[in-house]
């Protein structure tokens, strides 16, 4: 099971680091990562493997939300099926 993490907000030091530590602590492997910065605003996408996660989907989602609050960013974890179903016949 793969998840998509989107991160949006004003760029600052340590965003990727903080999120990566959180994922690593929960045994979630990052499969792909990309980012663009437009006028100081960061837009980052991560594709992660949730099959080895130590915690349930909802719990990981809540942890990321907590992390988002600390960073004052918007972070969202979604199951990849929502994208697959909408863009593949």
């Amino acid at each position: 099971m793969r998840g998509i993490i989107t991160v949006i907000g004003k760029d600052k030091v340590g965003i990727i680091g903080k999120i990566c530590i959180l994922l690593s602590d929960n045994n979630v492997n990052i499969l792909d990562i990309s980012q663009t910065i437009l006028q100081e605003y960061l837009n980052m996408l991560m594709i992660v493997d949730l099959s080895t996660s130590k915690v349930e989907f909802n719990e990981l989602s809540e942890k990321l939300e907590q992390c988002a609050k600390e960073l004052n960013m918007e972070i969202k974890l979604q199951h990849e099926d929502i994208f697959d179903c909408m863009h593949r016949v």
């Binding site: 998509i4 909802n58 969202k76 199951h79 990849e80 099926d81 179903c85 863009h87 016949v89």
Partner: protein, 452 residues
């Protein structure tokens, strides 16, 4: 592998264009709760709903969070109460409505539909008791929605009931006069009612279905509007293709969520309602789509064309994306729930007559239309009858949810709040139809040949 652009497109639809699952509605059969004792009946209905829908809200919320797409409403549809309560021989079904309100509050759903009667062919004592109970039931409850199916293409129209319902609606408005006659906003009159419709106020769980089933309605007028901005000025073919593609994507999201919620609850998936339903929010409007298609203000000549093309393309795109389709399936045109339609009505571009024409080619009828409180009962029956024959002759569902606002007239408006929105009071043709409504009886079913 999903591309980044596709991820961004989906999330833009959700974040900026109001793509959402408009409703997850659990249909619950109540025929096994029948009792000849009113108290026993109420207890059995309460228990069945409370047990069947115990986890509905939690599972829907968890699924919404898993896929990152909001599920706006969680609702219940039940077997029409007139079919369930007949054995009690009670003259009032208000106690049932109060119990339905209580159980809905307890399980956390915002509406429960099915305080209903099916009277397209005849009118038994139970249907009579239900219809007589509607004004009081809707004024004394918050979440209960009522509906009456008065006709169908196969059976014709029961004009005896249409005549009565003019009074029922007036009485309901009067009893809720202190809340801008909101009672009538929870009551729908149907022709060819859909028995698996997940949308309120007309949802009910028809006979011939599973004991419990899960139906889903998707919505995202803002997504269609934004997509149409990319084909501005292009041909009808380009416009149709654009709507179909967008509808496919939105419906797929609905199908995914429906399957997941049904599966987690251990309940059979029923149908997807291929719908575009507005909310009063800016960017969540059907009239904005019509205007993006090239109409200056909704109601202008060309509006019926625009809404017909929209409706047809939404279905064409959606049918391929869903495993089973049902309900009302089409673009809704509830005036009070669509900010651009409210504006069109306020400046006089959109009239009751134009709305009637639009309802010939889209879902579902005269919806959330406020009219002056002094409109006579027979005129309301006449408005209902006009809409019903459109459904009967054309083999489609039509509905009337009209609100004669007690104590208010043209030029004033009403504020229902929330999803029900705000309605300018629209003018009604002042000439009488008393003569034809007072005839009563039944309109025979139409002929299905010589279609002109």
């Amino acid at each position: 592998m999903i591309s980044h652009l596709e991820i961004l497109e989906t999330n833009k639809m959700i974040r900026e264009e109001n793509l959402d699952i408009r409703t997850v509605t659990m249909g619950i059969d109540l025929l096994d709760t029948i009792s000849d004792d009113m108290d026993k009946l109420c207890t059995k209905i309460y228990d069945k709903i409370a047990l069947s829908a115990e986890n509905l809200v939690k599972v829907a919320d968890d699924t919404a969070s898993k896929y990152g797409i909001p599920i706006v409403n969680k609702r219940i549809a039940i077997t029409p109460i007139a079919l369930v309560a007949g054995a009690t021989k009670a003259s009032s079904y208000v106690p049932i409505a109060k119990m339905l309100d209580k159980v809905s509050e307890q399980i956390g759903v915002n509406f429960i539909g099915g305080f209903s009667a099916l009277v397209d062919k005849g009118y038994n004592e139970s249907a009579r008791a239900l219809i007589n109970s509607i004004p009081e039931a809707l004024s004394e409850t918050e979440r209960v929605c009522a509906s009456v199916n008065v006709g169908s293409t196969r059976t014709g129209i029961n004009m005896d009931v249409v005549k009565v319902l003019g009074n029922t609606i007036k009485e309901t408005s009067k009893l809720t006069a202190d809340r801008d006659s909101i009672g009538s906003a929870k009551f729908v009159v149907f022709c060819n009612a859909a028995d698996d419709n997940p949308f309120m106020a007309g949802a009910f769980h028809g006979v011939g279905q599973n004991d419990v089933a899960l139906h889903v309605g998707v919505s995202g007028p803002g997504v269609v509007k934004k997509a149409l901005e990319q084909v501005k000025g292009q041909s009808f073919e380009a416009m149709c293709e654009c709507i179909k593609r967008t509808s496919f994507k939105m419906t797929r999201a609905g199908q995914l969520v429906a399957a997941e919620v049904a599966n987690t609850l251990g309940v059979p998936f029923g149908i997807i309602d291929l719908s575009l339903a507005p909310t009063p929010a800016i960017g969540d409007s059907i009239a904005e789509i019509i205007e993006e298609m090239g109409i200056e203000v909704t109601g202008a000549p060309g509006t019926t064309l625009a809404v017909a093309v929209l409706n047809d393309c939404v279905k064409k795109g959606g049918v391929m994306a869903a495993s089973r389709v049902g309900g009302l399936s089409g673009a809704f045109i509830p005036v009070s729930e669509d900010h651009a339609m409210i504006k069109a009505a306020e400046i006089g571009a959109l009239t009751l007559e134009k709305l009637e024409a639009m309802s010939c080619v889209c879902s579902v009828g005269l919806d959330m239309v406020a009219i002056p409180g002094d409109t006579t009962a027979s005129t309301i029956s006449g408005i209902i009858a006009d809409e019903m024959v459109i459904g009967m002759i054309n083999g489609k569902t039509t509905a009337v949810r009209i609100i004669p606002v007690h104590g208010k007239g043209v030029g004033e408006s009403v504020e229902f709040g929330g999803l029900l929105g705000r309605a300018p009071i629209m003018a009604v043709n002042k000439y009488s139809c008393e003569g034809i409504i007072s005839r009563g009886g039944r309109i025979p079913a139409p002929i299905h040949s010589f279609k002109n």
